[in-house]
Amino acid sequence: MAVETLGSVTLDGEGFFVHPDEWTEAMVPELARREGIDPLTEQHWKVIRFMRQEYLQKGTGPAVRALSKSADISIKDLYQLFSKGPAKVAARIAGIPKPRGCI
Protein backbone atom coordinates (compact mmCIF):
# COMPACT_ATOMS: atom_id res chain seq x y z
CA MET A 1 0.00 0.00 0.00
CA ALA A 2 1.56 3.31 -1.07
CA VAL A 3 2.01 5.81 1.69
CA GLU A 4 2.82 9.46 1.18
CA THR A 5 3.49 12.36 3.45
CA LEU A 6 1.95 15.84 3.63
CA GLY A 7 4.78 17.51 5.38
CA SER A 8 5.19 15.26 8.40
CA VAL A 9 1.76 13.64 8.07
CA THR A 10 1.18 10.02 7.01
CA LEU A 11 -1.67 9.07 4.69
CA ASP A 12 -2.69 5.52 3.81
CA GLY A 13 -3.07 4.12 0.30
CA GLU A 14 -6.54 5.67 -0.07
CA GLY A 15 -5.49 9.11 1.22
CA PHE A 16 -6.90 8.83 4.76
CA PHE A 17 -4.93 10.00 7.80
CA VAL A 18 -3.18 7.11 9.54
CA HIS A 19 -2.83 9.25 12.69
CA PRO A 20 -5.84 11.58 12.98
CA ASP A 21 -4.15 13.56 15.77
CA GLU A 22 -1.58 14.82 13.25
CA TRP A 23 -4.32 16.89 11.59
CA THR A 24 -4.71 20.62 12.08
CA GLU A 25 -7.23 23.03 10.55
CA ALA A 26 -4.37 24.80 8.79
CA MET A 27 -3.98 21.72 6.58
CA VAL A 28 -7.56 21.93 5.33
CA PRO A 29 -7.07 24.26 2.32
CA GLU A 30 -4.27 22.09 0.92
CA LEU A 31 -6.16 18.84 1.58
CA ALA A 32 -9.23 20.32 -0.10
CA ARG A 33 -7.21 21.46 -3.10
CA ARG A 34 -6.00 17.86 -3.53
CA GLU A 35 -9.65 16.81 -3.73
CA GLY A 36 -10.30 19.42 -6.41
CA ILE A 37 -12.07 21.79 -4.02
CA ASP A 38 -10.98 25.40 -4.33
CA PRO A 39 -12.17 27.77 -2.96
CA LEU A 40 -13.49 26.42 0.33
CA THR A 41 -16.85 27.87 1.31
CA GLU A 42 -18.46 28.20 4.74
CA GLN A 43 -20.62 25.12 3.87
CA HIS A 44 -17.48 23.07 3.17
CA TRP A 45 -16.04 24.12 6.54
CA LYS A 46 -19.28 23.28 8.31
CA VAL A 47 -19.25 19.72 6.97
CA ILE A 48 -15.53 19.22 7.58
CA ARG A 49 -15.75 20.40 11.18
CA PHE A 50 -18.87 18.29 11.70
CA MET A 51 -17.17 15.13 10.41
CA ARG A 52 -14.19 15.75 12.70
CA GLN A 53 -16.47 16.25 15.69
CA GLU A 54 -18.47 13.09 15.00
CA TYR A 55 -15.24 11.10 14.76
CA LEU A 56 -13.95 12.51 18.07
CA GLN A 57 -17.26 11.83 19.81
CA LYS A 58 -18.21 8.48 18.30
CA GLY A 59 -14.98 6.93 17.03
CA THR A 60 -16.02 7.06 13.39
CA GLY A 61 -17.15 9.61 10.84
CA PRO A 62 -20.72 9.20 9.59
CA ALA A 63 -21.66 7.70 6.24
CA VAL A 64 -23.43 10.05 3.82
CA ARG A 65 -27.05 9.47 4.89
CA ALA A 66 -26.34 9.86 8.60
CA LEU A 67 -24.19 12.91 7.80
CA SER A 68 -27.06 14.47 5.87
CA LYS A 69 -29.54 13.96 8.69
CA SER A 70 -27.38 15.08 11.58
CA ALA A 71 -25.68 18.01 9.82
CA ASP A 72 -29.03 18.96 8.29
CA ILE A 73 -27.71 19.29 4.73
CA SER A 74 -29.44 17.47 1.88
CA ILE A 75 -27.50 14.64 0.21
CA LYS A 76 -27.85 16.53 -3.06
CA ASP A 77 -26.11 19.56 -1.54
CA LEU A 78 -23.40 17.33 -0.07
CA TYR A 79 -22.67 15.98 -3.54
CA GLN A 80 -22.53 19.57 -4.89
CA LEU A 81 -19.92 20.42 -2.24
CA PHE A 82 -17.90 17.20 -2.45
CA SER A 83 -18.66 15.69 -5.81
CA LYS A 84 -17.11 12.25 -5.43
CA GLY A 85 -18.61 10.55 -2.39
CA PRO A 86 -19.04 13.29 0.24
CA ALA A 87 -18.48 11.14 3.32
CA LYS A 88 -15.18 9.77 2.05
CA VAL A 89 -13.89 13.06 0.64
CA ALA A 90 -14.88 15.09 3.70
CA ALA A 91 -13.31 12.41 5.92
CA ARG A 92 -9.99 12.74 4.08
CA ILE A 93 -10.05 16.55 4.42
CA ALA A 94 -11.06 16.30 8.08
CA GLY A 95 -8.11 14.01 8.81
CA ILE A 96 -10.23 11.12 10.06
CA PRO A 97 -10.27 7.44 9.01
CA LYS A 98 -12.56 6.12 6.28
CA PRO A 99 -16.10 6.10 7.69
CA ARG A 100 -17.00 2.63 8.82
CA GLY A 101 -19.10 1.30 5.98
CA CYS A 102 -21.50 -1.35 7.11
CA ILE A 103 -20.84 -4.99 6.47
Binding site: T60, V64, R65, A66, G85, G101, C102, I103
Partner: protein, 413 residues
Protein backbone atom coordinates in the same frame (compact mmCIF):
# COMPACT_ATOMS: atom_id res chain seq x y z
CA UNK B 1 -40.49 -8.02 44.02
CA UNK B 2 -41.26 -9.10 40.47
CA UNK B 3 -39.13 -7.31 37.88
CA UNK B 4 -40.66 -6.51 34.54
CA UNK B 5 -38.89 -7.05 31.24
CA UNK B 6 -40.58 -5.60 28.18
CA UNK B 7 -39.33 -6.77 24.79
CA UNK B 8 -40.30 -4.73 21.76
CA UNK B 9 -40.50 -6.91 18.66
CA UNK B 10 -41.32 -10.62 18.26
CA UNK B 11 -38.98 -11.38 15.40
CA UNK B 12 -35.75 -13.35 15.62
CA UNK B 13 -34.13 -11.38 18.44
CA UNK B 14 -37.24 -10.71 20.50
CA UNK B 15 -38.34 -14.33 20.36
CA UNK B 16 -35.04 -15.94 21.23
CA UNK B 17 -34.38 -13.41 23.99
CA UNK B 18 -37.84 -13.93 25.53
CA UNK B 19 -37.53 -17.72 25.44
CA UNK B 20 -34.01 -17.72 26.89
CA UNK B 21 -34.97 -15.30 29.66
CA UNK B 22 -38.10 -17.28 30.51
CA UNK B 23 -36.03 -20.42 30.95
CA UNK B 24 -33.50 -18.66 33.19
CA UNK B 25 -35.80 -16.77 35.52
CA UNK B 26 -38.84 -17.93 37.48
CA UNK B 27 -42.22 -16.35 36.83
CA UNK B 28 -42.23 -14.92 40.35
CA UNK B 29 -38.90 -13.22 39.85
CA UNK B 30 -39.37 -11.88 36.33
CA UNK B 31 -42.41 -10.98 34.25
CA UNK B 32 -41.77 -10.97 30.51
CA UNK B 33 -43.96 -9.12 28.00
CA UNK B 34 -43.36 -9.10 24.24
CA UNK B 35 -45.00 -6.54 21.96
CA UNK B 36 -45.39 -6.73 18.18
CA UNK B 37 -47.73 -5.00 15.73
CA UNK B 38 -48.67 -8.16 13.76
CA UNK B 39 -48.61 -11.93 14.15
CA UNK B 40 -46.64 -12.78 11.00
CA UNK B 41 -43.19 -14.14 11.74
CA UNK B 42 -41.47 -14.40 8.38
CA UNK B 43 -38.39 -16.58 7.80
CA UNK B 44 -36.58 -13.78 6.00
CA UNK B 45 -33.72 -15.83 4.48
CA UNK B 46 -36.41 -17.63 2.48
CA UNK B 47 -37.49 -14.47 0.66
CA UNK B 48 -34.52 -14.79 -1.70
CA UNK B 49 -35.93 -18.04 -3.10
CA UNK B 50 -39.49 -16.84 -3.78
CA UNK B 51 -38.70 -14.86 -6.97
CA UNK B 52 -37.15 -17.99 -8.51
CA UNK B 53 -40.06 -20.26 -7.66
CA UNK B 54 -37.91 -22.19 -5.16
CA UNK B 55 -40.16 -21.36 -2.21
CA UNK B 56 -43.83 -20.47 -1.94
CA UNK B 57 -44.57 -17.35 0.14
CA UNK B 58 -46.95 -19.13 2.54
CA UNK B 59 -44.18 -21.59 3.48
CA UNK B 60 -42.25 -18.76 5.10
CA UNK B 61 -44.79 -17.36 7.57
CA UNK B 62 -45.77 -18.63 11.02
CA UNK B 63 -47.55 -17.09 14.00
CA UNK B 64 -45.24 -14.89 16.12
CA UNK B 65 -47.18 -15.74 19.24
CA UNK B 66 -46.78 -19.47 18.66
CA UNK B 67 -42.97 -19.18 18.79
CA UNK B 68 -43.06 -17.79 22.34
CA UNK B 69 -42.96 -20.24 25.20
CA UNK B 70 -45.46 -20.45 28.05
CA UNK B 71 -45.30 -17.78 30.69
CA UNK B 72 -44.52 -14.98 28.28
CA UNK B 73 -47.21 -12.31 27.83
CA UNK B 74 -47.78 -11.29 24.23
CA UNK B 75 -49.40 -8.01 23.20
CA UNK B 76 -50.29 -7.41 19.59
CA UNK B 77 -50.25 -3.66 19.12
CA UNK B 78 -48.40 -0.91 17.29
CA UNK B 79 -46.08 1.09 19.51
CA UNK B 80 -46.53 4.82 19.81
CA UNK B 81 -43.30 5.60 21.64
CA UNK B 82 -40.90 4.78 24.44
CA UNK B 83 -40.65 7.30 27.26
CA UNK B 84 -37.03 6.79 28.24
CA UNK B 85 -37.20 9.12 31.23
CA UNK B 86 -40.31 7.46 32.66
CA UNK B 87 -39.27 3.86 31.85
CA UNK B 88 -42.52 3.26 30.00
CA UNK B 89 -43.73 2.14 26.60
CA UNK B 90 -46.87 3.83 25.25
CA UNK B 91 -48.87 1.69 22.83
CA UNK B 92 -50.97 3.04 19.96
CA UNK B 93 -54.19 2.82 21.97
CA UNK B 94 -52.65 4.80 24.81
CA UNK B 95 -51.97 1.82 27.09
CA UNK B 96 -48.81 2.29 29.15
CA UNK B 97 -46.34 -0.51 29.95
CA UNK B 98 -43.90 0.10 32.75
CA UNK B 99 -40.56 -1.72 32.60
CA UNK B 100 -37.51 -2.41 34.73
CA UNK B 101 -35.63 -3.52 31.64
CA UNK B 102 -36.47 -2.73 28.03
CA UNK B 103 -35.08 -4.83 25.20
CA UNK B 104 -35.41 -3.21 21.78
CA UNK B 105 -35.75 -5.95 19.16
CA UNK B 106 -37.83 -4.20 16.52
CA UNK B 107 -35.25 -4.66 13.82
CA UNK B 108 -34.77 -2.61 10.68
CA UNK B 109 -37.60 -1.17 8.58
CA UNK B 110 -37.58 -0.79 4.82
CA UNK B 111 -38.04 2.80 3.59
CA UNK B 112 -38.75 2.56 -0.15
CA UNK B 113 -40.67 5.88 -0.11
CA UNK B 114 -37.51 7.72 0.87
CA UNK B 115 -36.03 7.23 -2.61
CA UNK B 116 -37.92 9.54 -5.01
CA UNK B 117 -39.49 7.67 -7.92
CA UNK B 118 -38.98 4.19 -6.47
CA UNK B 119 -42.56 3.52 -5.39
CA UNK B 120 -44.12 5.44 -8.26
CA UNK B 121 -45.44 4.12 -11.55
CA UNK B 122 -42.94 1.28 -12.03
CA UNK B 123 -43.15 -0.19 -8.53
CA UNK B 124 -43.91 -3.92 -8.66
CA UNK B 125 -44.04 -3.65 -12.44
CA UNK B 126 -40.48 -2.98 -13.64
CA UNK B 127 -38.80 -2.25 -10.31
CA UNK B 128 -39.14 -4.55 -7.30
CA UNK B 129 -37.70 -5.52 -3.99
CA UNK B 130 -37.54 -9.11 -2.74
CA UNK B 131 -37.03 -7.93 0.82
CA UNK B 132 -40.82 -7.89 1.30
CA UNK B 133 -43.10 -10.89 0.85
CA UNK B 134 -45.45 -9.08 -1.56
CA UNK B 135 -42.55 -7.80 -3.66
CA UNK B 136 -40.81 -11.18 -3.78
CA UNK B 137 -44.07 -12.83 -4.84
CA UNK B 138 -44.79 -10.25 -7.56
CA UNK B 139 -41.23 -10.56 -8.83
CA UNK B 140 -41.65 -14.32 -9.38
CA UNK B 141 -44.17 -13.71 -12.12
CA UNK B 142 -41.97 -11.08 -13.75
CA UNK B 143 -38.79 -13.18 -13.72
CA UNK B 144 -40.54 -16.21 -15.19
CA UNK B 145 -41.61 -14.08 -18.16
CA UNK B 146 -38.37 -12.08 -18.56
CA UNK B 147 -36.81 -13.11 -21.86
CA UNK B 148 -34.24 -10.48 -22.68
CA UNK B 149 -32.88 -7.16 -21.60
CA UNK B 150 -31.05 -5.57 -18.69
CA UNK B 151 -31.55 -6.86 -15.17
CA UNK B 152 -30.07 -4.47 -12.61
CA UNK B 153 -29.68 -5.44 -8.95
CA UNK B 154 -29.07 -2.40 -6.74
CA UNK B 155 -28.39 -1.71 -3.09
CA UNK B 156 -29.58 1.86 -2.66
CA UNK B 157 -27.43 2.53 0.39
CA UNK B 158 -26.08 0.85 3.51
CA UNK B 159 -26.92 -0.31 6.12
CA UNK B 160 -29.10 -3.17 4.94
CA UNK B 161 -30.19 -6.48 6.39
CA UNK B 162 -28.21 -9.38 5.03
CA UNK B 163 -25.61 -7.58 2.87
CA UNK B 164 -24.94 -10.76 0.89
CA UNK B 165 -28.56 -11.27 -0.27
CA UNK B 166 -28.29 -8.92 -3.29
CA UNK B 167 -25.19 -10.84 -4.40
CA UNK B 168 -27.09 -14.10 -3.97
CA UNK B 169 -29.84 -12.67 -6.12
CA UNK B 170 -27.32 -12.05 -8.90
CA UNK B 171 -25.93 -15.59 -8.61
CA UNK B 172 -29.38 -17.16 -8.60
CA UNK B 173 -30.52 -15.01 -11.51
CA UNK B 174 -27.51 -16.21 -13.52
CA UNK B 175 -28.41 -19.82 -12.68
CA UNK B 176 -32.13 -19.28 -13.38
CA UNK B 177 -31.64 -17.77 -16.82
CA UNK B 178 -28.98 -20.31 -17.80
CA UNK B 179 -31.33 -23.13 -16.79
CA UNK B 180 -34.05 -21.59 -18.95
CA UNK B 181 -31.74 -20.98 -21.90
CA UNK B 182 -32.19 -17.19 -21.76
CA UNK B 183 -28.89 -16.13 -20.20
CA UNK B 184 -27.21 -14.88 -23.36
CA UNK B 185 -30.02 -12.42 -24.05
CA UNK B 186 -29.97 -11.03 -20.51
CA UNK B 187 -27.44 -8.61 -19.07
CA UNK B 188 -27.09 -8.74 -15.28
CA UNK B 189 -25.48 -5.77 -13.50
CA UNK B 190 -24.86 -5.37 -9.77
CA UNK B 191 -24.86 -1.74 -8.64
CA UNK B 192 -23.51 -0.98 -5.16
CA UNK B 193 -22.60 2.08 -3.04
CA UNK B 194 -19.58 0.12 -1.75
CA UNK B 195 -16.20 0.18 -3.47
CA UNK B 196 -16.27 -3.57 -4.02
CA UNK B 197 -18.50 -6.66 -3.89
CA UNK B 198 -18.05 -6.80 -0.10
CA UNK B 199 -16.44 -4.53 2.48
CA UNK B 200 -13.66 -6.85 3.60
CA UNK B 201 -10.75 -7.41 1.20
CA UNK B 202 -10.42 -11.22 0.92
CA UNK B 203 -14.17 -11.87 0.62
CA UNK B 204 -14.55 -8.91 -1.72
CA UNK B 205 -11.95 -10.43 -4.01
CA UNK B 206 -13.49 -13.93 -3.92
CA UNK B 207 -17.05 -12.71 -4.45
CA UNK B 208 -15.96 -10.19 -7.07
CA UNK B 209 -14.25 -12.95 -9.05
CA UNK B 210 -17.33 -15.11 -8.82
CA UNK B 211 -19.50 -12.31 -10.15
CA UNK B 212 -17.07 -11.83 -13.02
CA UNK B 213 -16.91 -15.54 -13.84
CA UNK B 214 -20.71 -15.64 -14.03
CA UNK B 215 -20.75 -12.65 -16.37
CA UNK B 216 -22.30 -10.23 -13.88
CA UNK B 217 -21.19 -6.63 -14.43
CA UNK B 218 -20.44 -4.53 -11.37
CA UNK B 219 -20.87 -0.77 -10.90
CA UNK B 220 -19.35 0.46 -7.64
CA UNK B 221 -19.55 3.60 -5.50
CA UNK B 222 -22.95 4.57 -6.83
CA UNK B 223 -25.39 6.01 -4.28
CA UNK B 224 -28.82 5.89 -5.89
CA UNK B 225 -30.56 9.23 -5.38
CA UNK B 226 -33.71 8.64 -7.38
CA UNK B 227 -35.44 6.35 -9.85
CA UNK B 228 -36.79 7.52 -13.19
CA UNK B 229 -39.31 4.76 -13.78
CA UNK B 230 -40.54 6.25 -17.06
CA UNK B 231 -37.12 6.18 -18.70
CA UNK B 232 -36.25 3.15 -16.56
CA UNK B 233 -33.00 4.29 -15.05
CA UNK B 234 -31.39 4.62 -11.65
CA UNK B 235 -29.85 8.06 -11.07
CA UNK B 236 -26.90 8.39 -8.72
CA UNK B 237 -26.39 11.46 -6.54
CA UNK B 238 -23.26 12.09 -8.59
CA UNK B 239 -25.28 12.19 -11.80
CA UNK B 240 -24.36 8.74 -13.14
CA UNK B 241 -27.31 6.81 -14.60
CA UNK B 242 -27.87 3.07 -14.90
CA UNK B 243 -30.53 1.98 -17.40
CA UNK B 244 -32.62 -1.13 -16.74
CA UNK B 245 -35.45 -3.17 -18.17
CA UNK B 246 -36.01 -4.90 -14.83
CA UNK B 247 -34.60 -3.57 -11.57
CA UNK B 248 -34.43 -5.38 -8.24
CA UNK B 249 -33.47 -3.05 -5.42
CA UNK B 250 -32.77 -3.19 -1.73
CA UNK B 251 -34.46 -0.03 -0.38
CA UNK B 252 -33.08 2.27 2.28
CA UNK B 253 -33.30 0.84 5.79
CA UNK B 254 -33.93 2.63 9.07
CA UNK B 255 -34.93 1.67 12.59
CA UNK B 256 -38.58 1.20 13.51
CA UNK B 257 -40.83 4.26 13.17
CA UNK B 258 -41.72 4.64 16.86
CA UNK B 259 -38.05 5.32 17.62
CA UNK B 260 -38.34 8.73 15.94
CA UNK B 261 -41.18 9.55 18.36
CA UNK B 262 -39.15 8.46 21.38
CA UNK B 263 -37.02 11.32 22.66
CA UNK B 264 -33.41 10.35 23.05
CA UNK B 265 -33.88 6.67 22.15
CA UNK B 266 -32.44 6.41 18.65
CA UNK B 267 -29.80 7.89 16.37
CA UNK B 268 -30.49 9.86 13.18
CA UNK B 269 -31.46 6.67 11.32
CA UNK B 270 -33.59 5.42 14.27
CA UNK B 271 -31.16 2.70 15.32
CA UNK B 272 -30.37 2.36 19.02
CA UNK B 273 -26.90 3.55 20.14
CA UNK B 274 -25.58 0.35 21.75
CA UNK B 275 -22.35 -0.85 23.32
CA UNK B 276 -20.90 -3.29 20.77
CA UNK B 277 -19.66 -5.70 23.47
CA UNK B 278 -22.28 -5.65 26.22
CA UNK B 279 -25.36 -4.86 24.08
CA UNK B 280 -26.50 -2.38 26.71
CA UNK B 281 -27.78 0.78 25.07
CA UNK B 282 -25.77 3.96 25.49
CA UNK B 283 -29.07 5.72 26.10
CA UNK B 284 -29.93 4.43 29.58
CA UNK B 285 -28.62 1.52 31.62
CA UNK B 286 -31.98 -0.27 31.72
CA UNK B 287 -32.33 -0.38 27.93
CA UNK B 288 -30.69 -3.11 25.85
CA UNK B 289 -30.85 -3.86 22.13
CA UNK B 290 -30.52 -7.05 20.10
CA UNK B 291 -30.47 -7.70 16.38
CA UNK B 292 -30.97 -5.27 13.53
CA UNK B 293 -32.32 -2.49 15.76
CA UNK B 294 -28.89 -1.80 17.28
CA UNK B 295 -26.34 0.54 15.72
CA UNK B 296 -23.35 -1.77 16.39
CA UNK B 297 -20.84 -2.29 13.58
CA UNK B 298 -21.85 -5.92 12.97
CA UNK B 299 -23.86 -7.15 9.98
CA UNK B 300 -27.61 -7.00 10.26
CA UNK B 301 -28.12 -10.76 10.07
CA UNK B 302 -29.96 -13.54 11.87
CA UNK B 303 -26.73 -15.27 12.84
CA UNK B 304 -25.53 -12.12 14.60
CA UNK B 305 -28.80 -11.92 16.50
CA UNK B 306 -28.47 -15.56 17.54
CA UNK B 307 -24.86 -15.14 18.70
CA UNK B 308 -25.87 -12.03 20.64
CA UNK B 309 -28.56 -14.03 22.44
CA UNK B 310 -26.64 -15.56 25.30
CA UNK B 311 -24.54 -12.45 25.90
CA UNK B 312 -27.65 -10.26 26.02
CA UNK B 313 -29.42 -12.58 28.41
CA UNK B 314 -26.34 -12.87 30.64
CA UNK B 315 -26.02 -9.10 30.85
CA UNK B 316 -29.71 -8.47 31.45
CA UNK B 317 -29.49 -10.98 34.31
CA UNK B 318 -26.47 -9.19 35.74
CA UNK B 319 -28.15 -5.82 35.41
CA UNK B 320 -31.22 -7.07 37.26
CA UNK B 321 -29.09 -8.28 40.16
CA UNK B 322 -26.96 -5.16 40.31
CA UNK B 323 -23.77 -6.82 39.09
CA UNK B 324 -21.43 -5.35 36.51
CA UNK B 325 -21.98 -6.48 32.97
CA UNK B 326 -19.60 -9.19 31.87
CA UNK B 327 -20.86 -10.62 28.60
CA UNK B 328 -18.66 -9.77 25.66
CA UNK B 329 -20.05 -9.96 22.15
CA UNK B 330 -17.30 -10.25 19.54
CA UNK B 331 -19.43 -9.28 16.51
CA UNK B 332 -19.60 -12.88 15.26
CA UNK B 333 -21.56 -13.36 12.03
CA UNK B 334 -21.81 -16.10 9.51
CA UNK B 335 -23.67 -16.22 6.23
CA UNK B 336 -24.42 -18.83 3.64
CA UNK B 337 -24.18 -17.24 0.19
CA UNK B 338 -26.26 -19.13 -2.38
CA UNK B 339 -24.31 -19.23 -5.64
CA UNK B 340 -26.70 -21.24 -7.82
CA UNK B 341 -26.43 -24.78 -9.22
CA UNK B 342 -27.09 -26.21 -5.73
CA UNK B 343 -23.97 -24.67 -4.29
CA UNK B 344 -23.26 -22.05 -1.68
CA UNK B 345 -20.32 -20.28 -0.06
CA UNK B 346 -20.01 -19.87 3.71
CA UNK B 347 -18.32 -16.92 5.38
CA UNK B 348 -17.59 -16.59 9.11
CA UNK B 349 -16.22 -13.40 10.68
CA UNK B 350 -16.40 -10.95 13.59
CA UNK B 351 -15.49 -7.35 14.51
CA UNK B 352 -11.76 -8.02 14.26
CA UNK B 353 -11.42 -10.86 11.78
CA UNK B 354 -12.58 -10.64 8.18
CA UNK B 355 -14.00 -13.69 6.36
CA UNK B 356 -11.09 -16.14 5.98
CA UNK B 357 -10.72 -19.45 4.13
CA UNK B 358 -10.63 -22.77 6.01
CA UNK B 359 -13.48 -24.69 7.61
CA UNK B 360 -16.25 -24.02 10.14
CA UNK B 361 -16.83 -24.55 12.98
CA UNK B 362 -13.50 -26.34 13.17
CA UNK B 363 -10.93 -27.93 10.84
CA UNK B 364 -13.57 -30.56 10.11
CA UNK B 365 -16.64 -28.71 8.98
CA UNK B 366 -18.15 -26.69 6.20
CA UNK B 367 -15.71 -25.10 3.75
CA UNK B 368 -15.25 -21.35 4.10
CA UNK B 369 -15.04 -18.91 1.17
CA UNK B 370 -15.51 -21.78 -1.29
CA UNK B 371 -18.52 -23.01 -3.23
CA UNK B 372 -19.76 -26.40 -2.17
CA UNK B 373 -22.89 -28.52 -2.31
CA UNK B 374 -22.53 -29.12 1.42
CA UNK B 375 -22.89 -25.41 2.12
CA UNK B 376 -26.03 -25.31 0.01
CA UNK B 377 -27.49 -28.18 2.05
CA UNK B 378 -26.49 -26.27 5.16
CA UNK B 379 -28.45 -23.24 3.96
CA UNK B 380 -31.52 -25.35 3.28
CA UNK B 381 -31.30 -27.22 6.61
CA UNK B 382 -30.96 -23.96 8.41
CA UNK B 383 -34.64 -23.22 7.96
CA UNK B 384 -35.53 -26.17 10.21
CA UNK B 385 -32.89 -25.14 12.73
CA UNK B 386 -34.33 -21.61 12.77
CA UNK B 387 -37.82 -22.63 13.88
CA UNK B 388 -36.84 -25.57 16.08
CA UNK B 389 -33.59 -24.56 17.73
CA UNK B 390 -32.74 -20.92 17.24
CA UNK B 391 -36.09 -19.29 18.06
CA UNK B 392 -36.66 -21.49 21.13
CA UNK B 393 -33.39 -20.01 22.34
CA UNK B 394 -31.09 -23.02 22.17
CA UNK B 395 -27.45 -22.98 21.25
CA UNK B 396 -26.44 -25.23 18.40
CA UNK B 397 -24.15 -28.17 19.17
CA UNK B 398 -20.57 -27.36 18.28
CA UNK B 399 -21.44 -23.80 17.34
CA UNK B 400 -20.30 -21.33 19.98
CA UNK B 401 -21.32 -17.69 20.13
CA UNK B 402 -17.80 -16.41 19.67
CA UNK B 403 -16.17 -16.75 16.27
CA UNK B 404 -13.80 -19.75 16.33
CA UNK B 405 -10.24 -19.29 15.15
CA UNK B 406 -9.83 -23.10 14.84
CA UNK B 407 -10.21 -24.15 11.25
CA UNK B 408 -9.33 -20.76 9.76
CA UNK B 409 -6.38 -20.26 7.46
CA UNK B 410 -4.55 -17.01 8.01
CA UNK B 411 -2.26 -15.55 5.36
CA UNK B 412 1.35 -16.43 6.15
CA UNK B 413 3.02 -13.36 7.68
Amino acid sequence: MTRRIVILGAGTGGTLAANRLRRLHSRDAVEITVVDQNDDHIYQPGLLFVPFGLKRPEELVRSRHAQLHDGIAYLQSPIDRVDVAQDTVVLADGAVLRYDVLIVATGATLLPDETPGLTGAGWNDTIFTFYMLEGATALAGKLAAFDEGRLVVNVIDMPIKCPVAPLEFCFLADWFFRKNGKRDRIDITYVTPLDGAFTRPIASQVLGSMLASKGVNVVTELNTGEVDSERKQLIGYDGRTVPYDLAVVVPLHGGAGYVSRSDGLGDELNFIPTDPQTLQSRVKSNIFAIGDAADIPASKAGSVTHFEGDILVENVGRYLTGRSLDGQFDGHANCFIETGFDKAVLIDFNYDTEPLPGHYPAAIGLPLLKESHLNHLGKLMFEWIYWHSLLPGHSLPGVGSAMPDRGKIHEPV
